[in-house]
Amino acid sequence: MRIGRRLGTALGLLPLMGTAWAAQPPPPPQTPRQAAQTDFTGTWVAQVNEDWRHRMRTAPVGDTESVPLNAAGRDMTKNWSLDADNAKGDQCKAWGAGGIMRQPTRVRVSWTDDNTLKFEMDSGTQTREFHFGAAQPSGDRTLQGYSIAQWMRPPPAAAGPALGQQLGLPGRNAPRSATPAAPPSNQRGSLKVTTTNVLPGYLRKNGVPYSDKAVVTEYFDRFSAYGSDYMEVVTVVDDPTYLVLPFVVSSQFKREADDSKFSPTPCRTDPPVKRGVQ
């Protein structure tokens, strides 16, 4: 009986508690830059130790090894011609959002403003901008498309007060600071980037295609290992036009002390190798 009374009282108080919490001044909002729990700024160099022959060389025409293409995609690859691309001014199709992180490249990362993280690639002289919290504007499709970014670990303010605080329970309910008590590590959370509005491009230099309907989802992380800093990006390309299922690869980068080796070069695809040289 006593329990029933207590429960009734507590239930009666609940709307008031919710109102009380809503009435509290919200913690000051953080910009995405302030909320960043991983610092990607700096210069990174690709470590091409996977799929080397597809990335450092141009694989043979028709070589679609390990890409889950449909028949249309395979046909596109078989009929790919470097000369035709060059003639049309399409030299940079392998440097679009769906394929650029696989290029042997250096990446210079900086904040354009509090809401925009910029990735500059020296290979192909390409720039990608990752926009936080912004809706995708309508506009022309571009090689790099339009990228929306989010920290996968939400900023502390977004999580709201602790449950105990909301319930008004005694103890351990001190107001939560917008800034974590301990300084954040610079490599705690992943960065998720979703890119749409892309022009058709190549997953690989030898004309393995993705279409303008492709959605490129990327997850960036930073790690420390054996005295060096590394960045890794998982790239998931989902394309209803040429792929039977999402194409998933992950690419590795090592941090450099400065950008002295960052050297922009134009898009350049070497002629495809010929198989079976004797």
């Binding site: 329990i3 207590r6 429960l7 239930l11 609940l14 709307p15 508690m17 919710g18 919490w21 809503a22 160099v45 690709a46 470590q47 091409v48 130790n49 996977e50 799929d51 080397w52 022959r53 450092m56 060389r57 694989a59 090894e65 390990s66 890409v67 889950p68 042997p104 490249t105 290979s123 989010q150 670990r153 939400p154 999580a159 449950l163 909301q166 319930l167 590590s185 705690r188 959370g189 992943s190 998720k192 997850y219 992380d221 290992a225 054996y226 590394y230 890794e232 998982v234 299922l245 194409f247 998933v248 690869v249 992950s250 690419s251 590795q252 190798v273 010929k274 198989r275 040289v277 004797q278």
Partner: protein, 630 residues
């Protein structure tokens, strides 16, 4: 009543969440929160079914049917690694000791198929003890989460290694040590037993990526960083095999059987298929030739994985035949190992570990003494050097209490193995007996000639192939093993315990000391190693089972002995080939045919230095017609 209160609080909490729009919003934001566990069944990105599916989206040859010979491009290998990988033959898998080996942890995540990760909880405390990772044609792997330390420097190594993990924010960070020599790619790109690995397991939505760094001071000029992606397997797997793309009726995932090596080829026992340095055309050029990649680039090196290599790659042009020898005669700068700290720091400490059954190993200053303890007393194999005698005796007392030392066995007459005997061989109270000392007869003769202390003189010698005693309810075989280090060498096999003590014939941490003046030869060394392998029996996929205590260093098992035998055999075959072709000793030395093993096994000076070992191999092969390979 207490339970009612708890329930009441839970109801309140749920209602508060449900009635508070702000909190609901916060939870919605948390819907993208990636702090999710790693448990579950995981498929390659292309799915779990083998037939016809594009399972792997990168490194498909390495992770699927198998890489081409010579595909080392983009790997930060030094000259030693490339030399060794280039010698690799696919027939290596026919060696009986290799047939049952599953992939080492340095390759595990790259193998075909998926994986299953489960949690192990302590049934009493209900705390997380470990994650268990199974799959990928590899041994089940335990990642300890309970804070236990890594084993000591002389503990056995396994193919799966010893892994500890901790959660750092939303990543599972795993450190692995004690890994057996293995590979990172199935075409022979090696890892040494000094390799270690760091991994970050990271989940993103329905994907998990394992970021791994393999650090190997013997073979890599910088850590090898690779990433492997899996996606959640949204299906119910009721058998382990189903998690790897197999079917319940025994599909291609059915690999986790009890395996026994068999004779696959009608070749001599101990033959190790390999490519010789003088073979210009071989398997290692497959990749280079097939994809028209210059061999220099195909063979790898750290420079080949960075963007600036595009320029020299273009300048190198196409594949050309016949450049292997010139490459190894003038290795590119990137193949040179940067100077680092010594891979193994000299250890002056004392380590005691239980090997198996009644047998213990005491390691002092890197040198091994073995003790068997039972109701009859203590048996000591190789009491050790005079310098270390007191430490060895102290360890014996910790293991055996006041039990008397009744048997001592010398595996050779080296002072470093037996000089501590007078400290250990003290009269047994109350009857004043001393220990029975067993050795090959030649040790007794030599000590007698040297007028050694009476407590050191063997009392029980033999000159035929074997001597056996029964002690502590266990047959103990003393096996004569001449042909390597001295005519006096013996091994000791504890039959019940399943422990073989090799003494100097298998030093473990250095090249073998081939003593030509006392009957040693490279062929004798190979024969003794093959004999060791005829005694050992692995318990599970090429490891465990019979344990081997080498003369120095960490504990071995069959897999380690097979690795050591492979090293000795490959060097024999290379030098034999050179002898057959009429090369002089200077030419053989200049060819540096041991370069893939020097950093691991060569000492700076003495009989196990590169120069002296190479000379011993050469001279012993030159002394009689070179034995044909195989």
């Amino acid at each position: 009543m207490k339970h009612m209160k708890t329930h009441c609080a839970s109801v309140l909490a749920l209602l508060a969440i449900a009635t508070n729009p702000g909190l609901v919003h916060a939870q919605a934001v948390r819907g993208t929160f990636p702090l999710m566990d790693v448990v579950g069944d995981w498929d390659p990105p292309g799915g779990g079914g083998f037939p016809g599916a594009v399972q792997q989206h990168e490194e498909v040859q390495d992770r699927g049917a198998g890489p081409d010979g010579g595909d080392f491009a983009g790997l930060p290998l030094n000259e030693a690694a490339i030399y060794r990988a280039r010698a690799h033959s696919p027939q290596w898998l026919t060696v009986p000791e290799n047939q049952c080996r599953l992939h080492p942890v340095t390759y595990q995540q790259r193998a075909p198929g998926g994986m299953s990760i489960v949690k192990i909880y302590d049934p009493v405390t209900e705390k997380l003890v470990a994650y268990k990772v199974t799959g990928n044609y590899s041994l089940p792997r335990t990642i300890w989460m309970d804070g236990r330390p890594h084993p000591g420097p002389y503990a056995p190594h396994t193919y799966e290694g010893f892994s500890t993990g901790k959660w750092v924010d939303d990543r599972l960070v795993v450190e692995t040590s004690h890994i057996k020599a293995g590979y990172v790619r199935r075409n022979g790109v090696p890892t040494s037993d000094l390799a270690r690995m760091l991994e970050y397991f990271v989940r993103h939505d329905n994907y998990i990526t394992i970021n791994s760094w393999v650090e190997d001071p013997i073979y890599y000029t910088e850590p090898l960083f690779r990433t492997t992606d899996f996606k959640a397997a949204f299906r119910v797997n009721t058998q382990l095999i189903e998690a790897f793309g197999g079917t319940q009726d025994g599909g291609p995932g059915a690999t986790f059987y009890k395996c026994t090596g068999i004779d696959e080829l009608d070749v001599a026992v101990g033959r190790i298929p390999s490519y010789l340095p003088t073979q210009e055309e071989d398997e290692s050029e497959t990749f280079s030739r097939l994809y028209d990649i210059p061999l220099r680039a195909a063979f790898g090196g750290a420079d080949t994985m960075y963007p600036e290599y595009m320029q020299p790659l273009r300048a190198l042009g196409s594949y050309k035949r016949g450049v292997v020898s010139s490459l190894f005669a003038n290795p590119p700068p990137s193949w040179v190992q940067p100077s680092r700290e010594a891979p193994v720091a000299p250890d002056a400490g004392v380590t005691t570990q239980h090997v198996k059954g009644k047998v213990w190993a005491i390691t002092v200053g890197g040198q091994n003494t073995v003790v068997q303890v039972g109701d009859e007393g203590v048996l000591v194999v190789d009491p050790g050097s005079q310098e270390h005698g007191a430490a060895v005796l102290a360890e014996i007392r910790k293991i055996a209490g006041n039990k008397p030392v009744r048997q001592i066995i010398y595996t050779s007459g080296d002072a470093s193995r037996i000089a501590a005997t007078p400290l250990i061989n003290t009269p047994i109270k109350p009857d004043g007996q001393v220990a029975n000392i067993i050795s090959h007869e030649s040790v007794g003769l030599a000590l007698g000639r040297a007028r050694a202390a009476s407590e050191m003189i063997p009392t029980d010698t033999f000159f035929r192939g074997e001597r056996a005693i029964y002690f502590n309810d266990e047959p103990v075989e003393v096996i004569h093993t001449p042909g390597v280090h001295s005519t006096a060498d013996v091994m000791v096999f504890f039959r019940e315990s399943g422990v073989l003590v090799t003494g100097a014939v298998l030093p473990g941490v250095t090249y073998p000391h081939i003593n030509l003046e006392d009957g040693g030869s490279i062929q004798g060394t190979v024969d003794v190693l093959n004999r060791i392998l005829s005694i050992t029996v692995a318990s599970w996929h090429g490891q465990g089972g019979t344990m081997v205590v080498p003369g120095q260093g960490r504990l071995y098992d069959e897999g380690d002995v097979a690795e050591y035998r492979e090293m000795v055999t490959l060097i024999r075959d290379r030098v034999a080939d050179a002898v057959k072709k009429g090369r002089t000793l200077d030419q053989v030395k200049a060819a540096r045919m041991t370069r893939d093993y020097d950093a691991r096994y060569a000492t700076a000076s003495g009989p196990t230095s590169t120069a002296t070992f190479t000379e011993a191999v050469y001279r012993s092969l030159k002394a009689k017609p070179a034995k044909a390979k195989g």
